[in-house]
């Protein structure tokens, strides 16, 4: 099965909430949102993020903006104040998530980003 990085069909942003982090994953198109709804489940994300040992993952839907918000509980090993990691605040979790391999959807052409207006 051929895979593509999640970044092919979505963009994202992450940040900290104490010792928790959140990542919002935003599909570029409704077809992508529909695919992510089926594929990007809490358990799949937990599997991908296993090395970082989140205690729990919870997914929330924001259909009007084609986004799924993931709360990653206790993933920051102390957070802004106590973490010894370079990325103490989870700023790069979004970049990491966008590298996640996903099975290439047959209708991937319907999920690609629109032309970038600033290019």
């Amino acid at each position: 099965m051929s895979t593509v990085p999640l970044a092919t069909i979505a963009h994202a942003r992450s940040g900290d909430k104490g010792n928790h982090a959140n990542v919002g994953v935003i599909a570029y198109t409704p077809a992508g949102y529909e695919f992510l709804g089926r594929y990007l489940t809490e358990s799949r994300l937990a599997q991908y993020l296993l090395p970082l040992r989140p205690r729990q993952i919870e997914r929330f839907e924001m259909p009007g903006i084609l986004a799924y918000n993931f709360l990653l509980f206790d993933i920051l090993v102390g957070g802004a104040s106590r973490s010894l990691r370079t990325d103490s605040q989870g700023k790069i979790l979004s970049a990491a998530l966008l590298e996640m391999p996903i099975p290439e959807p047959p209708n991937v052409q319907e999920m690609l980003p629109p032309e970038k207006s600033h290019e």
Binding site: A12, K17, G24, L50, P51, M62, I65, E99
Partner: protein, 461 residues
């Protein structure tokens, strides 16, 4: 239809010092907000105030205000709302007023909004039944009580509305919810009721979107390419109508971009359950929102719903938790990754030999995939690797001993070690986060308004 333009020129303490002036000069603003307080900023400010009674607020604001004084002089409509007051809104107001007076703006009405600092009353509050349980961990305050360094309630927009009703033009607050910096002006301008939940939610979304400054105008954007100019980056402006319509934009002829994509990314930034974005003003529901590109760098934001504000204020406490430091070296050449890891282990083993056993340590070999080990593809072939070692210990002396171990490795470690010039890393006190809540009625917001000329001559109490 009446519309106000609220621009935010600072997203955190340490943000670009020129941005507020540039935004005010070309943003056609009614209000300029400046947001400086992260979750733990107040504990750092409390620490500074303990060493210097004239400190305890975000001093960047004074530099910024000096640059804004000429703009205030020529834009009579412009008002400034900021949480730069930190632990010491009155001290900040006094020093800000000295700057305004010196610039010929002594008649300006300056407000200090406080009451968020509950630390002085902590024992009394515990006695009256507040348990201050940590809402993340579920732990009781217990033994941590003696280590608490600061305790601040997140107040809402009320103090700002009071100050504006007394015609204050520069409003300096302590801890309030970030979005309330925007909600306050909207309530004042449009006379919204405190139970007009949908309008309060709309203004809260606007505040949430602009509170981090350039993060909504192209900063941090996943769609970054080298073709997206972030030079002369425009800081954000929220247009808010009396009917609760919101448009996010930025001044013309500035760098960056405001698109549905940049706004969506900021909408999801640091939120939990989107159906319950809680502030002291409203329980806002972001879950059914829509965005529309209605022009170049103009995005309409709609669909926020409001529910009654939560019965308790969130409280951010910080407790003293020892000392931390992190240092780096650069390791180059053949086997750079292996050598870097060996250097990290060597630092810790030499400390153990010297009798220093640190409570927590963390070694990262940056360039090999170590920022997120197990997530990034491992790269052991780099010819240059940054070794970073971080430590945490209750003893300052132990951490001070640790920071001395980096330079010696240049001559007493493997070959190819460099990057040791510059000052040693400094150990710093750790203020750990203790999120909790308090009943609203136990907190009393206080607003004080004087002319700058009067503030500048008042004495510390």
């Amino acid at each position: 239809m009446p519309v106000i333009r609220v621009g935010n020129g600072a997203g955190f303490w340490g943000d670009n010092l020129d941005a507020p002036r540039l935004l005010a000069e070309c943003g056609r603003l009614d209000y300029l907000t400046l947001e400086y307080l992260a979750e733990l900023t107040l504990s750092i400010l409390a620490h500074q105030r303990s060493r210097n009674p004239q400190a305890g607020f975000v001093s960047d604001f004074l530099t910024v205000l000096e640059s804004l004084a000429p703009v205030l002089a020529v834009q009579p409509q412009l008002k400034i709302v900021t949480n730069a007051g930190g632990m010491a809104p009155q001290t900040c107001a006094r020093q800000a007023s000295a700057i305004l007076s010196k610039a010929g703006l002594g008649e300006t009405l300056v407000a200090a909004a406080s009451g968020d600092d509950i630390f002085p009353h902590l024992d009394e509050l515990i006695g009256s039944g507040e348990s201050f349980m940590n809402f993340d961990s579920g732990l009781a305050l217990g033994d941590a009580r003696s280590q608490i360094a600061s305790a601040n309630a997140y107040l809402g927009a009320g103090g700002i509305v009071t100050a504006l009703s007394q015609e204050a033009r520069v409003i300096i607050t302590g801890r309030i919810a970030d979005a309330s910096l925007t909600v306050g002006p909207a309530i004042h301008e449009f006379g919204w009721s405190w139970t007009d939940w949908n309008s309060l939610a709309a203004a809260t979304v606007a505040g949430h979107l602009i509170e981090c400054g350039a993060q909504v105008t192209g900063g941090m954007f996943s769609g970054w390419t080298a073709g997206l100019s972030l030079d002369n980056l425009g800081y954000p402006v929220a247009e808010i109508s009396d009917a609760g319509q919101v448009v996010i934009t930025k001044p013309p002829m500035t760098g960056g971009i405001v698109s549905t994509e940049t706004v969506t990314e900021q909408l999801v930034y640091e939120i939990g359950d989107p159906a319950h974005y809680l502030t002291p003003d409203v329980d806002a529901d972001f879950s059914q929102m829509h965005l529309a590109q209605i022009g170049p760098d103009r995005v309409e934001v709609s669909g926020a719903k409001g529910n009654p504000a939560p019965p308790r204020y969130k409280v951010s406490m910080a407790y003293c938790d020892g000392f931390m430091a992190a240092g780096t070296l650069v390791v180059c050449g053949d086997q750079a990754a292996v050598k870097a890891r060996a250097c990290g282990e060597l630092i810790l083993s030499r400390l153990r030999t010297a009798g220093v056993n640190l409570a927590r340590t963390h070694i990262e070999c940056l360039g090999t995939g170590d920022t997120l080990p197990g997530i990034w593809k491992r790269n052991n072939d780099a010819l240059e690797v940054v070794l970073r070692v971080g430590v945490h210990d209750p003893s300052r002396a132990a951490v001070e001993r640790f920071v001395r171990e980096f330079s010696p490795l240049v001559g007493s470690g493997p070959p190819g070690v460099t990057g040791y010039t510059g000052p040693r890393p400094s150990p710093y006190p750790v203020f750990a986060y203790w999120p909790t809540t308090i009943a609203r009625e136990r907190v009393a917001p206080v607003v004080e308004v004087h002319t700058a000329a009067d503030w500048a001559t008042t004495q510390e109490t």
